[in-house]
Amino acid sequence: MKKQMLKRTLKFIFVIIIFVCIGMTNGKNRNTTVFESLVSNLITLPQKITNNINNWASKDKENIKNIEKLTEQNEKLAKENEELQRRMLDYEVLLSENIILKQKSQIEGSYPDYDVVVANVIYEPMNNWEEVYVIDKGSKDGVKPNMTVITTEGLVGYIESTTESTAKLISILDAGNSVSSRSTRTRDAVICKGNISLKDEEKLKIAAIPIGVEFVEGDKIETSGMGGVYPKGIAIGEIKEFIVKKNPTENEAILKTYVDFSKLETVAIIVK
């Protein structure tokens, strides 16, 4: 009987303690005790571990999913890149074609009195002495030997020989080439000649200048039409230097050509 009473009392005390605990711990601004933290940590530790493992696994899953996505994206981008590069190449081809066509129409517009055949330079001079260019138009296009070759800037040279589809062009820079020419200012007739020491600078020499003829820097020189190879009035270049010698018959002038031979790409052959 006493035992039963004691048990009931203990149960009552236990309930009261719990209620007291509830009353004491039920609050928003309560600091947890060290004991509570320890127990809480101990309880949550396995959960944390499991959670971490779970998180890591799910992240990996995401990563795997991402890799698949990225690979897909990468493939897509590579295809797009390829397509863009192809378009870029097409664009560049169109651009260069456009430049060539522009040059052609410019040449045709610059010389309305002449019938011209427009050609591209396919080979530049092959050795250190001659200035022989090969162009991509030949006898089947109406190109014949001794025809004059020009660009929008001025005189290039003449055709020496042709095949069916190509022609050899001797430029005015060739040391064996002479051009009968005239000063546009004074109208004095002179002969411009290529020179091996001046050809790299794209210059010509005017030797045997008649006594009394003087040039000044900037004087423009054009073809005189004499000799029958070059038509009259095609620009050649302008005087850069007039060299006065003791003997006036030995006076010389240096002429810079208008045509930039280092960038010679498109030329026109006067066929009529």
Partner: protein, 173 residues
């Protein structure tokens, strides 16, 4: 069979040399002067293989050059043939391990070749005779050729040896 193959390789090498001369070497001139790969090829083959093969090599290179770029067929044919033949006459004294002798000989041949061409142009093409300019161009070309020989030396030796191996008579093809 081997001779035919050698002949095909020889024509291919000559064609490549002309292509390089027209496209690459002209695009990278040394102070306005370009190297002459034709002289290097023809002279070195002559030097390694002798007069006959050197002559043939020079003839093929020269005629192709004349047809494609020359102003008259025959000038370069004869000159390159002579280059091959002349260099071939030094064949017996040439050691393939001696770069200097090859450079020295090709330099002399370059000087003779270019002087002959220039004199021909002076005589027949109305060029002014300018000794100083001519010498200046030739010296620059010799320097450029020397650099090219140093680069191509192993290939030239291989090419010459290959022709030599297939040659057991005087007739290549």
């Amino acid at each position: 069979m081997r001779k035919t193959l050698t002949g095909i390789i020889m024509i291919f090498v000559i064609g490549t040399a002309i292509f390089l001369q027209a496209n690459l070497l002209q695009a990278i001139p040394l102070n306005g002067t370009s190297a002459n790969i034709g002289i290097i090829l023809v002279a070195s083959v002559g030097l390694i293989c002798g007069k006959f093969i050197g002559g043939i090599n020079g003839f093929v290179y020269g005629i192709l050059y004349d047809i494609a770029f020359g102003r008259a067929i025959g000038i370069y044919t004869i000159l390159y043939l002579l280059v091959g033949y002349l260099s071939g006459s030094f064949n017996k004294n040439f050691s393939k391990d001696n770069k200097v002798s090859m450079i020295f000989l090709i330099s002399i041949i370059t000087a003779i070749f270019e002087t002959s061409i220039f004199l021909f142009f002076v005589l027949f093409r109305n060029y002014d005779f300018e000794l100083q300019s001519m010498l200046f161009i030739i010296v620059k070309e010799i320097i450029y050729n020397t650099i090219l020989i140093l680069i191509l030396y192993k290939f030239l030796i291989w090419f010459g040896e290959m022709i030599n191996k297939s040659k057991n008579s005087y007739y290549l093809l």
